[in-house]
Symmetry: C2
Subunit: 276 residues, 2 copies
DNA sequence: TATACAACCTCCAGTAACGGGAGAGTCAAG
DNA sequence: CTTGACTCTCCCGTTACTGGAGGTTGTATA
């Protein structure tokens, strides 16, 4: 019978931890004085404690260790837990390696530009979204006004209100000098009739969407595109669908046209991506 | 001015998180209604929030992000933090890779023996320890009794009490058929005079000590040695000093000699190791 | 105008695995 | 009998939030 302090020294496990393992049911003292509450351990409990430490070392949580220590556990079940743990660790290693890549990219950018980039790219998950849209080919992006007039006019006649910021989908895979395939999209709720020109459907969720925010006039939007393209390539992704340009905050000129040069404009650029 | 719910939808950051960032001082709403407490945000706060998310993605804690967002931060300081983070991630990756090795070893052992090994090896840090010792060459380990008689006799005459379990140091690097160089050690406190045969000194701390526990008679101790040797090799370590055999719990026969066959004996085997 | 209901607020509890410390009781030696 | 080392329980703090209770506020509809 040894007291907790000595057992702690023998095992080099802190008293606090031993009490915690007692409470968790991982390692109960062989006896506890009913009046003083003193815990008394035995030497032959050291192997069990050692096993707890070994399993902790493999990264199991104490709860998992509790299950692993149940005597009724077969070698087969143990194998299953270990295989699972193996997969989890592999996952962690990969995630950390990717994170390291991203840190490296930040560092390279600071070296290059001697300052921090204006643009921060993050991966987000995007929910499915129901939209009404008009798609067409226009010479260049700033000339997509006709698509928007068509869409907004239709929705106004149907007395439909948008439920989130509108955005454009850019369907061309490559950069083009002219003739862009653009879809003007307006998120909606409830039932809206489609027409020949106006489609109504739900964009599916995107698990890995690379996103960045541009704060400034549309005329400088290309900087944001450059930054996100660089990020996507440097992090070993590739785009796998049309990019979105979300108009979070725009101002209008008197004539109902969007102000292309307002410096307060806020736009989000999104690209669905996948590991290359 | 947008309310928290809309800001949350725009940024795809939960309301709870936004309130938390407010509380942390990472992202204060541009205005808070003094009477209702409602938080009001602006579109141009999205870039800052995006930066927070990007830094979080690099694995910085919110506190670190707070410091990184201070406008007075130079590119040089930013570089420093990033370099530091880089080193931390590299460390994590390596630790996880080593952990993966250990899981693999467990799995291999289960495959081989179709059950779990009796021995769990863990790395521990061992504090410096002051000892009195007698070192000598004996034919085989079970015949080290003479060393112990000499040491215990001397300590008894000096009226010294041991303060921790006694142990042997095995100074031979390789396995030997006969003539083992063994040091019998007794931890002590306070000042003890040395003699020609009895040395008194402090064993230095060992940062990485591979430890396992043997529960059973001394006659089966070799199993523990086999297990720990296998573990050390499989995990890419090598021994870098004399092994310790710590007698945590022994019983004596009537004649004052240690009982070599008591199944309740508990012994710990330790080897200082370093990455090969 | 009344009312429903969505949105917002603050505060509290819980998460994993303990470490630190308070305040009180216990044990062994001198 | 006293000192000092040891032990007990209980509570708080750690991270980055999530979930929920209980109470306001804002807006849309009947």
């Amino acid at each position: 019978m040894i007291r907790i302090g000595d057992f702690s020294k023998l095992s080099r496990v802190s008293i606090k931890a031993l009490r915690f393992y007692d409470e968790m049911g991982l390692l109960k003292p062989v006896s506890v004085d009913r009046f003083t509450g003193y815990r008394y351990y035995e030497f032959d409990q050291l192997p069990r404690l050692h096993r707890i430490l070994a399993l902790k070392d493999l990264g199991f949580s104490l709860e998992e260790i509790g299950r692993l220590l149940e005597s009724a556990l077969s070698a087969e079940q143990m194998r299953g837990m270990l295989k699972l743990r193996q997969a989890e660790i592999r996952q962690t290693v990969q995630e950390e390696a990717e994170r390291l890549e991203r840190v490296d990219l930040w560092l390279r950018q600071i070296e290059q530009e001697d300052s921090m980039s204006k643009y921060d790219v993050v991966i987000k998950k995007v929910e499915p979204i129901k939209i009404a849209s008009v798609r067409g080919v226009v010479p260049t992006p700033p000339q997509q006004g006709s698509l928007w007039s068509e869409l907004e006019g239709y929705l106004a006649r149907q007395r439909v209100r948008p439920v989130a910021p509108c955005f454009s989908l850019y369907h061309d895979d490559e950069y083009k000098e002219k003739d862009w395939d653009i879809e003007a999209c307006e998120p909606i709720a409830g039932d809206v009739k489609a027409s020949e020109r106006v489609k109504v459907y739900t964009l599916p969720a995107v698990e890995t969407m690379a996103c960045t925010i541009h704060h400034g006039p549309f005329t400088t939007l290309s900087e944001a595109y450059n930054a996100i393209a660089k990020w996507i390539e440097a992090n070993g992704y590739r785009t796998c669908g049309p990019g979105r340009e979300i108009y979070l905050h725009v101002t209008e000129q008197g004539n109902g046209m969007v102000n292309q040069t307002d410096p307060e404009t806020v736009t989000e650029i999104q690209f669905p991506v996948a590991k290359a």
